[in-house]
Amino acid sequence: MTTAEAVAAVVLATITIYACTGVADFGAGLWDLTAGGRERGRRPRELIDIAITPVWEANHVWLIFLLILTWTAFGTAFAAIMTTLYIPLALALLGIVLRAASFAIRKDAARAGARHLTGWLFGIGSVLTPFFLGATLGAVLAGRVPVGNAAGNQLTSWFNPVSLATGLLAVLAGAFLSAVYLVAEADRRGATDLRDYFRVRAMAAGVGALIAGAATLGALLADQREMFDRLMGRSWPLLLLGVLALVVTFGLALRGRVRDLRLAAAFGVAALVGAWGVAQYPYLLPFSLTISAGAGATVTLQWILVCSLVAVLLVLPSLGLLFTLDQRERVGEDPTTSR
């Protein structure tokens, strides 16, 4: 493995972590948005709030990492993607800002009206971001991002069947995963009606995600045959594993096994991201720029690997500490004294 390929693997790992932590989070925003009026939607929203609140908005730090990594290691590809896909990326960013701002402010907004408005913005953001990040991925998959400063078509590069189907897939996969989590959370709290509520939604979103996935493959078959062949030729075991793992999460949710469920979901998402990486290898931009041709200076790549190692050594123990404290609080806190 060359240094550039090792850095590409780090980039893929970062995308995987962001997807694992972020996708379900976005889905929860969608369910929040579609829960109906203030009265009707109160109970599902309450559950979403309780279950999702500890999921951290700082997840976006992974995205910041990803951007920095990409421009430092693969500047040419970064510049090509960011400029050709200005519109979808700007809209994804809009979603992130809406979510983050309303998340921060909602928890402190005293009045019901303000809470309602921020909740609405949160939901809109939660749909915008995965859809347009998915569409961006689809544009890369479809090989519609040429090297250069805004060299690709500003519109058709992402407004095409492959990109739109991928965007839809991202939204629905997130909706499925978060509904699955919420089934388990409702189960844990003995709220059977909410358990059924989210079970129906998980099934609907799951079927929808499968259709969107099939549509993505179909669009690739028509639009970008080489990528289709690579996905079906070398990545099919990962695709299959990923889909199977996500189906298993649904089963685990019905049995209320939260911890196994999270593992299975992470595994499924990782397998799907991996399937994309394997199919696209060795290209950064299919099929015009390879990893070796697009890589920056070797010394910089080596520094990136060292930085990544430092990040793992520092961030993981700290995160571990945070989660340990969080768990302890969940187990040991006495509600009468904590008020």
Partner: protein
Amino acid sequence: MISDVVLAAPEQLLPARQQMAFTLMFHIILVPMGVALPALMLIANFKGLRRNDPAALKLARRWSHAAALLFAVGAASGTVLSFEMGLLWPGLTGRFGDVFGIPFAMEGIAFFLEAIFVAIYIYGWRRLKPWTHFWLGLPIPFIALIGTFSIISANAWMNTPAGFTIGADGEPTDINPLGVIFNKALPYELSHFIVAAYMAAGFTVASVYAVGWLRGRRDRYHRLGFLIPFTIAAVLTPVQFAVGDTVARAVFKDQPAKFAAMEVVTRSGTNQPEVLFGRYDSATDTVKGGISIPGLDSYLAGGNRDTYVQGFNDIPVDSHPSNVTIVHSAFDVMVGIGTVLLLLVLWYAIAYWRRRDVPHSKLFLWFAVSAGFLTYVAVEAGWIVTEVGRQPWIVYNVLRTSDAVTATPAGTLWIGFTVVLGIYLLIGVGTVLVLRAMSRRWRLQDDTIDESVPYGPRLTALEEPAVVKEETS
């Protein structure tokens, strides 16, 4: 003002620069709170534990919640900035990404660590032993300094680029990451900014309690809330004067074009006058209005009136600093505010030395209330001096801003900028309203559970009972 060079620039340049300037100037409001507020809160925490002082502990706790809210907003606004590096400046990240990206990677790590430890600190208020909690919070200000170091390093590199050479094909080669990180401008930019951040946070937090004093709330809580941050900012104000003087002289040596813009030096020569304010007319290449002090500029730059200062006439026309009046006025505003703050600090010092007490006069308190806002104006002015003062270069003498800008149609960029303005207005107003609501709530019920902040623990009250209760009713 608009020279031919600017007119020849791509039409994308204006919206891209406007948006970058706006989002950076928004973000820099949050930065001092991320860098320095954790230190203030830990000092109050330490004082509270050491002296068994509930007022200090309450302050620490409340400051930590304000810090967490501002940190969350800063995370969002930081995400925007990292997108903009590619959305707006592909010529910088595309060609020079592997040169100056490493400091950003370091900042990414520091930022993540800070987010984790802020979360632990917020979680820990009721769940950890008091001293354990304090020690777990202690890394936060130091991690914040590492983050500041990294970002300032990248910015300083744009002002005094180093650690690479431009090859025959015009692309950077021979990259030396240590040379990039430890570039010439790093030491002075970093010290200037860290002190500024502590001053801005200190004076701003103090101003909140100064308002309380003016309204007659003079209990221990308000006294400490004023004294801790104000004293830190006051001690740093004279330090900043010395640091700022060093920075100006270093800019004179390292970035002569920026220095010429700061001091509107049109003709090179010795015995340059110091011009206070005034307006630069690029058509006639003269300064209109303003107060001129003979020889002072040369004296400040080199220690005597014979110091030779480079003027615009020695800079190639296409590299003339653009927006000279803005840069010059911003510099004068920054220095002017620094001087005013020094007077405030003198007042405080003399009163404390004579009576061991804060000056009681209303005028002093009003002055102290305005100090927070003034420091922020100075911070923004300083940003303008260093960033606008570097134009037309994005990397000084290496890469022009007009060559780094995106080729995305200008119309799209204007739409994007408009949306950004709208959203940021919403966020800005929302954040201020929430901060005010927090403060109102704190004042009304002093022993409320003020846990409901981003990164805070889940609300225990809402947990199981909320859902179950609904079911039974």
